[in-house]
Amino acid sequence: MNLLDTLLRCVATLVVFLVLPLVVGQTEHKVMAHMQGRLGPMYAGGFHGWAQLVADGVKFAQKEDVVPSGADRRIFQLAPAVALLPYLLVLLAIPVGPGGFVGQAIDAGIFFVLAVMGIGVLGSLMAGWASANKFSLLGGLRTAAQLMSYELPMLLAAASVAMAAGTVSLPGIVDAFHWWWIPWQTIGAFVFFTAGLAELQRPPFDMPVADSEIIFGAYTEYTGLRFALFLLSEYAGIVVVSGLTTVLFLGGWHGPFSDSLGWLWTLLKTFALAFVVIWLRVTYPRLREDQLMRFAWTVLIPLALAQLALTGIIKVAIS
């Protein structure tokens, strides 16, 4: 492992980071359209509008970058980057295939991932506060409250897996995976995935950006490329959460021919989960704010604790 290798891995991760969210975004467009009985983008790029998001990006780039006069300029401009960067860092630590097919093998992988993801909330808060807009501020506050609440069940569910595997290293966890872990950790998977959804502020947990109440929350004042960065961070978040769920609960690269096709399995599982995320958006209505908090504290945390207890009991029983 030398500096060149490290650099290469980072570049690869960057590429993945730029490509996968676009794919997920395009998928969302089409899937939502078909679920709602329409076609979705059809013209950009020719075949079923495959270049729609590229066109969107070009459009965003062309737009004027407006900063409200009452806003705190620097923080306003910095916020999208703060929101986006943590996902890039997280992506670095997610293993795709066996044998070091990973951006950076970090010893305390789960820890790193969750810690860095926690920083993302800062971006929303900064954006909400710096916009000098009361809807934005409310959105920022809602984001903070929601993310603080859902981080705990997420951590607990991840801890359950780490306990089962006996390591906090992400490749280590995937290595330790057996098929019967899926029923064993199913509650944890549900909790982790749901909490991750809430972290992303995806429907039905999109109270912070509820357009019918507070327009677009923290992102109301953003236009152009900065708004695109926020959108990008959301799709990157979908990728990250799906990938983490895959790695932690669905066995990652495990599957037939995992030695050669492991990376494919990982990607497939990730995309399946991303599809579920889109599907949920179309299916469920938005939760009310108090229902949201109540759900986190009275459903997810007890479930996560129960999963933790179950994991501990079975772990002791096995050994």
Binding site: D72, A108, A115, G118, L125, L147, R288, E289, Q291
Partner: protein, 210 residues
Amino acid sequence: MSTLLAAAGSLEPAVRSFLSPTGQEIVFLLVGIAVLGAAVVSVTTKQLVHAALWLVVTLGGLAVEFLLLTAEFIAWVQVLIYLGSVVVLVLFGLMLTRAPIGRSPDADSGNRWVALAVALAAAGTLVTLVVDAFRTSWIDLSPGAGSTEATGTYLFRYWVLPFEALSVLLLAALVGAIVLSRNGKGRIPRPRPGKLRTPVRSVTAASKER
């Protein structure tokens, strides 16, 4: 994170002298200057939210310092707790106490010059004492001393009882915070879950009540 350490330079204690610092020392020094500068800005800026954001920089820089001191687990805990929770809480508190955008002329109290004098005196004393006391002390850094495995080992082998006591403390703090935050003996009727006719109880409602 051993690569980061490796990138920073050799771990071998080659020549020990101030005049020829190792790469690690240089990195530590640079990050330390950044940390210190961010801290100073954080305690002197007149923009309240900026102070909190500069605090983020300070704490993040400290996490890097922890990494450089081979305390890897602690570094991530630092990121998780401080950056992910404490600073968010602080920002939350600032926003709930209506921190304005722009400069607040009354961010500093009239005690400023006394505080400066006291802080400078303390700094002079402490730095003098520390430098004098540890003039010839060197740290032998070896990777792995702060790894997750080592941490788990000592934490659950030697420190179980304090760990459990700490959990009780956290529980008490949780209960205390909830009790303190309750809105004054139920003056405002609680919304009943699952019934749509009750008004939305949210941060919006809370801020309107005030």
